[in-house]
């Protein structure tokens, strides 16, 4: 959104294609380090960004569409969407952020939204009085487990790692003390089963164990949303788009900014600044191309 505002203020004809405006920032619980706001929820901050964006009537917004491919066609780029539409531009600025990492096990996709969830902040309250599992070995998993101790009947916290060494130890201590939580270390989750909704989950280490759960919270981090780029652009070993200090990618005319890129530190304020910089670099490129 920051890129679009900078872009339109440079009189570049700007189109945003977005499945869900706000991205990861919208899912942050409390933001306490965005300049000008002592404390604001991610959702409110994202809403403020969008309200600001809508002041610029020249920005065209295609909402609810997901990009499926970007192709180069002579001097232009064609951006295709899953809905079968195609948009043309002289330049492209990619800011697709990150998406939740998946386990890739049987039942995960089938029961997504039917007991399997990647957003504890959104869905935890729906599991009041139910038996649930949380999968993950970091702070996100601990956060989810902690939220659920106030709501669920029982929580199986499952990690394939060791004792949450890198996570918040204060929070980990509180969870360890909770009688509702059972923690399993060095185990992998092998499948999720059910009928219309989740009924059980299977874990493996030396032996296989099955839990009866109605909810499975998957909190195993996030990955850059670059799957749709399919060899179009250079990615690093973490599947991030490789950019230089001018936000240029390996393809001339294609820029990238924010969490989807190789820029260190994934923060809302960093992404907003990078978006602004990328738009200015894009403007510079277009101006030189014209000349």
């Amino acid at each position: 959104m920051s890129a679009a505002i900078y872009s339109t203020r440079k009189k570049i004809k700007t189109l945003i294609i977005s499945k869900d405006m706000g991205g990861q920032a919208a899912l942050s619980s409390d933001v306490e380090n965005y300049l000008g706001f002592h404390m604001i929820t991610g959702a409110e901050l994202a809403q403020k960004f969008e309200t600001h964006l809508r002041d610029f009537e020249d920005i065209e917004l295609v909402r609810g569409e997901e990009v499926s491919a970007i192709k180069k066609k002579s001097k232009k780029f064609i951006v295709q969407t899953l809905g079968g539409k195609a948009y043309e531009g002289k330049t492209v600025l990619i800011t697709s952020g990150k998406v939740p990492r998946k386990l890739g096990i049987p039942g995960e996709e089938k029961y997504r939204g039917r007991g399997v969830t990647y957003c504890a902040t959104c869905d935890a309250p729906l599991f009041s009085g139910k038996d649930v599992a949380v999968i993950g070995g970091g702070n996100a998993a601990l956060d989810a487990a902690w939220q659920l101790t106030k709501i669920a009947k029982s929580i199986q916290l499952v990690t394939n790692g060791e004792h949450f060494k890198k996570a918040d130890q204060v929070l980990f201590g509180k969870i360890r003390e909770s009688k509702k939580v059972t923690i399993y270390y060095h185990v992998t989750t092998s499948r999720i089963d059910g009928d219309a909704f989740v009924q059980s989950m299977e874990i493996k280490n030396a032996k296989t164990e099955k839990f009866h759960v109605q909810g499975v919270f998957i909190e195993i981090g996030s990955i850059p949303a670059t799957q749709y780029l399919n060899n179009f652009i250079k990615l690093n070993q973490w599947q991030e788009i490789v950019i230089n200090e001018r936000n240029e990618t390996s393809v001339k005319g294609v820029y990238a900014a924010g969490d989807v890129t190789s820029v260190p530190e994934k923060q809302v304020i960093v992404a907003a600044g990078e978006g602004a910089k990328a738009a200015l670099m894009e403007f510079d490129y277009l101006a030189k191309r014209k000349a």
């Binding site: 909402r63 939204g113 309250p125």
Partner: protein, 76 residues
Amino acid sequence: MQITIYSTPTCPYCKMAKAFFDEQKIAYENIDVSVDHPKTEEMIQKSGQMGVPVIDMDGEIIIGFDRAKIEAILKK
């Protein structure tokens, strides 16, 4: 038009959905499914899934805050 939003207090997309209708000055009924369990079941029945928000616009069910779909229904 009768609009019902099934939401939880902490869900960011629920907040966005409510803010959208507030901005448009369109009235809706908000149901907090974290406390109203019979309504949770109603939401699951209507949408066939357990994620929030679920928005019921005169019987048309929208899962998640899909602004494009909402705007399309409002334009009808």
